[in-house]
């Protein structure tokens, strides 16, 4: 068994719980269950009736849709501190995707019933949850826009720029973005396959727009990237 962790402590840093009173945090910590998953372990399956949602404490999780013939699309890579599986808790629907741990991971699991009960008593929590879902919806519509209107090069360019903005707060030559995992996963996230991603990266590099090195992409020509992200060429 895990050495007992301070669940209340963990909750303090989570966006979902900002502005929640200390005593309420303790109540929430009470209902949370710490769970561990090995690399490649399935946290929940698409189509399974939702029993609650998770907060990722440590590790890395992918949310995937997969097709009968083995292709898969990564809806989201979940980083520590983020929640996942929330949506299925509030409507009578099943998990819309499968969650798989990409590294040994630890989560806090909130069972549906007690959480909903608590939610009814906490407007601040409800408000935070609405904001969380809203941001996820925003993200999903962005992905839809990319998939339906843009080609792979534009999606990749946008991805690199957004990650750069996210990690450094700005976009400038010389700044680098870390790939959270393998290029194959990135390909699945961008709605393509590793071969195509490899070629596209090679083309960007040959055009002097980026440098690629060991799971790290360095931006050398932001303007050109932005042009491509908009759909240019």
């Amino acid at each position: 068994m895990e050495p007992s962790i301070d669940k209340g402590k963990i909750l303090q840093g989570i966006y979902l719980f900002t502005g929640i009173r200390e005593t309420d945090l303790q109540a929430l910590a009470q209902m949370a269950v710490s769970r561990n998953f090995p690399r490649q372990g399935v946290i929940f399956w698409e189509g399974k009736e939702a029993q609650g949602f998770h907060i990722l404490v440590k590790g890395l999780v992918k949310l995937v849709k997969s097709s009968p013939d083995g292709k898969e699309f990564i809806l989201r890579l979940v980083m520590p501190g983020e929640t996942f599986g929330e949506a299925a808790v509030f409507a009578e629907i099943a998990y819309p995707a499968t969650a798989v741990a990409l590294e040994d991971s630890q989560t806090l699991f909130f069972p549906k019933a007690p959480f909903l009960q608590y939610l009814a008593a906490s407007p601040a929590l409800a408000r935070n949850m609405l904001a969380t879902l809203s941001k996820l919806m925003y993200h999903l519509t962005r992905q839809l826009e990319d998939l339906s209107l843009k080609e792979v090069s534009a999606r990749l360019a946008r991805y690199v720029l957004e990650r750069c903005k996210e990690t450094h707060g700005r976009i400038a030559p010389g700044l680098a973005v870390e790939l959270p995992t393998t290029k194959t996963h990135l390909a699945a996230y961008l709605g393509t396959i590793s071969e195509t991603l490899s070629r596209t990266l090679a083309r960007f590099k040959s055009l002097g727009m980026i440098e690629v090195d060991k799971g790290k992409i360095t931006i050398t020509d932001p303007a050109a990237l932005q042009d491509i992200a908009r759909g240019g060429k």
Copy 2:
């Protein structure tokens, strides 16, 4: 000016407000503003700071993403009784898509600030809103799955089957689904263009899977459709 409508009456039939007390409904009706839009009128623009959300009372509305070069993707067709523009209200984000009336339409508009204030006092309303957002997210992930993993024929087959199930509660030979609007719009909704949709419909017809007639599709071979929707052939 419109002859004054009974806003309270309208709210009663809306999913978002089920289980809300009568007196609360009156308060909500107070804050709602009736607005009218002509065919082709823009209700809000993508990127504009959200000021509130709408309930469609009458008419038809499309939520679209459009690219610089004129292509557009329809995220959702909004039918009377449904809400739209909700997501942007709860996080500090802009409207993620543009809303356009496809027919002369009437909405009830709920301004952000008073609605949020009211929401804090009504757990039932918060709960309903969470459920609404959850269902929309489910829908978005379905679309993402289709776009990333399936080809046009599979998307069309799935669309026809789902609409059939929705309108008749079951799927059987002889049942028909109405197209809400033009085939060009349906194409944009399926992430393709009208030419490709036309060809695909023609192929389905020649294979004896459907009959097409005047904005109506009649299913003749459900099994074959289901096979294609799963990715077969």
